[in-house]
């Protein structure tokens, strides 16, 4: 059973112009997105820059105003409570950012940074608070020495882990991770991803994993949604997306991933050209006259795709 549902989420930014600076049009950053989250699962949100994936994440947690739509958390409509202090929703949904350097106050010590969520959401004594902070550092594999250091004294991977420590401070139900490893080197990326899996197993967390890296997403996610211009073009389990992609845009993304087999690179280049040609030729099948994505249709219980003539199979 899903513990959280997003229903028809819209985030539109007005474009002002004209004589009286009136609203002349909107940017449809997020345009009718629906999702469901189950406990202990990882949901991938993939798209190119400008597709609205980060905006979706920010809108869910309340950093971005929602134009319309609903967020149901454990049976309650929390759409308007997201920004209230001390709400359970605020405590249970946390976020990790791509750039961990700018996500931490450079003038605060690690112990203050980690204490912040605890002070906000838990009523504990100072001793208890200190114990919890040390516990958090242990969870992310760091020693007590870190307590009195400042963020700049840590490496990128360590800072990202501290960001995670802060996010798990109040035992959240879900963490929205916005490109958590995009700025990291390969081996450090592996460390952080392993670690995210570990705490997921330990605490039964759910992740909304926002990324443009399809290799990482395939490694991490149970369920993947592909986003384009504010809408989902395809959504399904990992196997469905990677083994049986339906939408031409998904195909295009998948064919663009570099592969570490140099022997087959010429074949891949030919395939990439073919997909690119199909993308240009058949675009009316996948996008309407305005270039918008069609509404999603069910292909099977989990697999949804936005294209013309997609028939309900399976089920």
């Amino acid at each position: 059973m899903s513990f959280m549902q997003i229903k028809d989420l819209n985030v539109h930014y007005p474009i002002r112009g004209g004589f009286f600076n009136t609203v002349v049009d909107h940017v449809y950053a997020v345009d009718g997105v629906s999702m469901e989250f189950e406990k202990g699962k990882t949901y991938g949100l993939v798209g190119e820059s400008g597709s609205g994936k980060s905006t979706t994440g920010k809108a869910i947690i309340g950093l971005e105003k929602i134009t319309s739509g609903q967020i149901i958390y454990e049976g309650q409509n929390v759409t308007n409570q997201r920004r209230k202090r001390n709400s359970a929703y605020n405590r249970d949904i946390q976020m990790i950012f791509q750039d961990s350097t700018s996500a931490m106050n450079p003038r605060k010590r690690i112990q203050e940074i980690l204490a912040e969520p605890i002070r906000n959401f838990m009523k504990v004594s100072p001793q208890e608070e200190k114990r919890r902070i040390i516990e958090l550092l242990e969870i992310v594999g760091m020693s007590e020495e870190a307590l009195l250091k400042y963020p700049h004294e840590f490496s990128g991977g360590q800072k990202q882990r501290l960001g995670i420590a802060r996010a798990v401070a109040c035992n959240p139900k879900m963490i929205i991770a916005d490109e958590p490893v995009s700025a990291l080197d390969l081996s450090v990326q592996a460390q952080v991803l392993n670690f995210m899996k570990d705490i997921q197993n330990e605490f039964g967390l759910s992740y909304l994993f926002i990324s443009h890296d399809l290799g990482v997403v395939r490694h991490m996610c149970d369920h993947i949604s592909i986003m384009y211009k504010g809408r989902f073009v395809e959504s399904g389990t990992r196997e469905e997306i990677y083994a049986n992609p339906q939408h031409v845009y998904t195909n295009r993304l998948l064919s663009a991933i570099p592969n570490i087999e140099p022997e087959t690179r010429d074949e891949r280049k030919i395939k990439r050209r073919a997909v690119e040609a199909a993308y240009k030729a058949d675009s009316h099948k996948y996008f309407d006259e305005k270039g918008k994505v069609y509404p999603l249709k069910d292909l099977s219980q989990t697999h949804k795709v936005a294209m013309m003539g997609a028939e309900r199979g399976g089920m």
Binding site: E48, S49, L186, A190, L193, G215, H219, I257, P258
Partner: protein, 342 residues
């Protein structure tokens, strides 16, 4: 592959930076050759010195606190000894440079067309009309759909992929013999990345230029490179052709890097991790195998005292001898062990 001549010869290159009255080697004893019509990839994590190597080739370091020694031979001349104005004649003309961040590489106050024409003005004798023609030709060549309009736009009006195409257009404006591309696709989306890499490949076929491609992405290497140099802590630890490197990686660092990529077809829950991190410039060990601290389970005696590059098979070089006995932490036996078992 066609027969190839060397166009760039790097011999015993050292680049060191001054930090508080001490010079520290960021690039140490690098010897490399670049051939015509070849993509030579240089890979490694951040802090391995790969960008320093790239900028040393074109002499972009401030002379005040940098020391560059060794030889960079281009057409029989040593670029290291060149003066600024001599370098200026070569940069942009014989050697093109593609930077990681196209927005920072372009002048925000100049129209695209002017920026490309600037290179032509400096290095060629074309008159103004000819230059304009050439600019449109170049924009067309890098796959920009409406060259006339784009030439009249400013950098901020273009998308990231378009900007990178403009930077490439500037780099190839004078048909350079060598192109140095420092992480040319890191800031771009995968679909754009694929387009840019294909573009580089196509341009190379037309111009026969040699490309030095700096990247941390092994996927990109596998897609475009002919030869690969793996750098760690300022040194080359492995050098091989691209097929050889991916089929038969030998150095522990190369193997660890390849092992930490999330693999498509494995359902392995955990990724392999390399312990520790790349040492910083001031804390770099100057003796022994530099990768040793990150593979502490390998016996010290397996490393060489002064690790040198050994030619293991034709065109395949590996530094130090520790690869023979290397195994991942939770595995038994070394590579030799496995070879014997087979």
């Amino acid at each position: 592959m066609k027969s190839k001549n060397d166009i760039l010869n790097i011999k015993n290159l050292h680049t060191s930076f001054r930090i508080k009255d001490h010079y520290y080697h960021a690039v140490e004893d690098i010897s490399l050759t670049l051939k015509e019509n070849e993509v030579l990839a240089i890979v490694g994590e951040s802090g391995c010195g790969k960008s320093t190597l790239a900028t040393s080739i074109v002499g972009l370091h401030p002379p005040g606190n940098t020391k560059v020694t060794g030889e960079i031979l281009y057409k029989g001349k040593n670029l290291v000894e060149f003066k600024e104005d001599e370098l200026n004649k070569i940069r942009g003309n014989d050697i093109g440079f593609i930077f990681q961040d196209p927005l920072a590489a372009l002048n925000p106050l100049m129209k695209i067309g002017e920026q490309i024409a600037e290179t032509l003005k400096y290095h060629t004798k074309l008159d103004e009309n000819k230059r304009k023609e050439r600019v449109l030709e170049l924009l067309d060549q890098v796959g920009i759909v409406n060259p006339a309009r784009v030439a009249n736009q400013f950098p901020h009006q273009l998308s990231g992929g378009m900007r990178q195409r403009v930077v490439i257009a500037i780099a190839i404006a004078c048909k350079p013999k060598i192109m140095v591309a420092d992480e040319p696709t890191t800031a771009l989306d995968v679909t754009i990345q694929a387009q840019i890499l294909d573009l580089l490949n196509d341009l190379q076929e037309e111009t026969d230029a040699g490309i030095v491609l700096i990247t941390h992405d092994l996927g990109v290497v596998a897609e475009v490179a002919d030869r690969v140099a793996v750098m760690y802590a300022g040194q080359i630890v492995e050098l091989a052709t691209v097929t050889e490197l991916f089929r038969n990686p030998l150095h522990p660092y190369t193997r660890s890097l390849l092992n930490s990529i999330p693999q498509a077809d494995s359902n392995n829950e955990r990724l392999e991790v390399i312990q520790g991190m790349v040492p910083t410039l001031t804390k770099m060990p100057r003796k022994g195998c530099r990768f040793a601290p990150r593979v502490p389970w390998i016996d010290e005696t397996k490393h060489e005292e002064n690790p040198a590059l050994h030619e293991i098979s034709k065109d395949h070089f590996v530094r130090c001898t520790c690869w023979k006995d290397f195994h991942f932490e939770h595995q038994e036996g070394g590579l030799q062990h496995e070879l014997h078992a087979n």
